[in-house]
């Protein structure tokens, strides 16, 4: 009897590692602190520190004559955002982001719905990889591929010529805002490439939301006399909405901040990202660049708040 009671309470282990391990077991808070300190220091100091430093700069202004930064608190820089040429940039970017999000949702929905409801086994894996590979493959290569496609002598023109539809392209390009000399230097081109590059981010959240819709719900709707359009409108769409909103966070945010796509494929009119790049680079106006970056941060903050209210984060 006594032998059992003796061994049931073990003595402290010997050896450095064992003693250290016992110490952590008794003081889990210290272990937690040691685990969290490196990542939090890295992200807190390097990332948040830089971010706050940048935001701070937006409250300074630049001296127009010397080009030096004037370290006095002012809202002048923000006022500059509202002058027509700058405000146009913001408006143009937000409208583009909204249109890209809308188009991405329309294209992504059938893929997500098919993958969630009909694809099984091998097909399901194939659909998954079919979305993941374009999502992860190189951003620049994707943009480059579209430069090949949309160039005047490229595949798109060739394809339309084969279909005898060149007149349609010419008619579209002669339209005032969306047109241009060729697709690769028009808003239409920018829009297509944005949709192409960010659309995969929309598919997976919608699919996740649709996976949770029981198939018999759709059948119940049909049994009760709903035609497919009504079923979509009143059953499927409301249930998929959190997923769509979750996906739109990506498409919207990524379009807001991008500066490479409109630079390579697009007209010479600026988007927010390009404005930031130009202001911090050639113009050397860091305060205005910082103020410009505040715009997407505020828009995304508001957007995330709305999304959270709609329950979109459960679908991520």
């Amino acid at each position: 009897m006594s032998a059992i009671t003796q061994t049931s309470i073990l003595e402290g282990r010997s050896g450095t590692f064992a003693r250290l391990s016992d110490f952590f077991w008794r003081n889990p808070k210290i272990l937690l602190f040691l685990m969290l300190a490196p990542p939090l220091l890295w992200l807190g100091i390097i990332y948040l520190g830089s971010l706050f430093a940048l935001l701070l700069q937006s409250f300074f202004s630049i001296d127009e004559f010397s080009g030096l930064i004037n370290y006095e608190f002012t809202l002048d820089t923000y006022r500059q955002l509202l002058i027509p040429s700058n405000f146009d940039i913001i408006l143009r970017t937000v409208v583009m982001a909204a249109l890209v999000t809308l188009a991405s949702a329309v294209i992504a929905f059938p893929i997500a719905y098919y993958a969630a409801r009909y694809a099984r086994g091998k097909w399901k894996a194939l659909f998954y990889l079919g979305v993941m590979l374009p999502l992860w493959s190189s951003y620049l290569v994707k943009v480059y591929a579209w430069k090949l496609i949309l160039a005047k002598e490229g595949i798109f023109t060739w394809f339309l010529a084969k279909l005898h539809l060149t007149w349609l392209l010419d008619a579209w390009l002669s339209l005032p805002v969306v047109g241009g000399n060729s697709l690769s230097i028009s808003y239409t081109g920018t829009f297509i490439v944005f949709v192409y590059v960010w659309m995969p981010f929309m598919i997976l959240p919608i699919q996740a939301a649709l996976e949770r819709v029981p198939g018999n719900l759709i059948e119940a709707s049909a049994d009760l006399g709903g035609n497919p359009a009504q079923t979509f409108r009143h059953v499927l769409f409301p249930l998929a909405l959190p997923g769509i909103i979750a996906g739109s966070i990506f498409t919207f945010s990524l379009t807001l901040g991008d500066y490479i796509i409109p630079q390579i494929i697009g007209s010479s009119r600026l988007f927010i990202g390009q404005a930031v790049y130009a202001q911090q680079g050639t113009a050397g106006n860091i305060p205005l660049a910082a103020a410009f970056t505040v715009v997407p941060i505020v828009i995304m903050g508001f957007y995330l708040w709305m999304a959270k209210k709609q329950g979109a984060f459960d679908a991520l």
């Binding site: 391990s21 430093a53 940048l54 590979l133 999502l135 992860w136 190189s138 290569v141 970056t293």
Partner: protein
């Protein structure tokens, strides 16, 4: 038998889904075609002829090799840093409850949720403020910051599935904390870490927006490509490099998928 699965999809849905997937894949496949074209000056389609010449030309270009080497070194070190930080953070968040837990998840995701240009310009102005000259390490610093989230996502998803009783059983059998980590936790999370590491590598290898702000005169492969896109010098070489980049990023993604597909989580969700 349940009747809630209809046998096949409506035709319209099939066509829309197939068209959507084609839209995603055809442009990338075209890159492979253009790498072998004989046309040098324009993007003419269909290519007038096919040749293997450009592979050899690209092979002999020292600037391509230098950029590739820099990209691989940056991605390796950024991945290593992200693996350590992401795993620590994931372990702390999933194994314990403490005040501010949700905030930490938000903090980890923030570098990727905010547009890359914000991360880039913030780091750049911080470097110039602290008078740190641009170097190899400033690129790594930027990359590691947004790679943490990929490792973190994969590790958190796996930690959720490692049952706590397994760890308690190991402790009950007399293993200390380090032994438990070595023999119980690590084998369980190993593949998730490998998958996360590969995705982090792919992400870093491909990153261009943050890099344009944190690199000085040095060119990573994406920067080299961007330069060629803005001011084309030798288009066929660019085509070959684009094909190479697709292949290099393809492999880690496929590997990551096979490493994590048994699980209920999604390896690359929320890039």
């Amino acid at each position: 038998m349940r009747s809630d699965r209809s046998a096949s999809a409506p035709m319209g849905l099939k066509i829309a889904a197939a068209a959507g997937l084609l839209f995603l894949h055809v442009p990338i496949l075209l890159i492979f075609l253009y790498a072998f074209t004989t046309e040098e000056k324009s993007y003419q389609f269909p290519p007038p002829g096919y040749t293997l010449k450009w592979l050899a030309v690209a092979w002999d270009r020292p600037d391509v090799w230098a950029a590739l080497g820099l990209s691989v070194r940056v991605a390796s070190i950024a991945t290593a840093v992200a693996l350590v930080l992401g795993t620590l953070c994931a372990a702390a968040v999933s194994q314990t409850r403490f005040f501010g837990r949700e905030t930490i998840s938000l903090l980890v995701i923030l570098p990727i949720a905010l547009p890359g240009i914000i991360t880039g310009i913030a780091l750049r102005s911080a470097f110039s403020f602290a008078e740190i000259p641009f170097s190899f390490w400033t690129i790594v610093l930027g990359h590691a910051t947004f790679c943490v989230v990929v490792v973190y996502n994969n590790a958190v998803a796996r930690f959720r599935r490692v049952s706590g009783s397994l760890i308690e059983a190991s402790m009950d059998l007399g293993a200390d904390g380090f032994q438990t980590f070595r023999y119980v936790i690590l084998p369980n999370i190993g593949t998730a870490l490998l998958a996360g590491g590969m995705l982090a590598f792919a992400l870093s290898f491909d990153e261009v927006i943050v890099t344009t702000f944190t690199a000085g005169q040095q060119q990573t492969l994406p920067i080299w490509m961007l330069e060629e896109l803005v001011r084309p010098r030798q288009r066929p070489v660019t085509n070959v490099v684009a094909m190479l980049v697709v292949l290099v990023t393809l492999l880690p993604i496929l590997a990551a998928y096979y490493l994590t597909r048994e699980g209920d989580q999604v390896a690359g969700a929320g890039k």
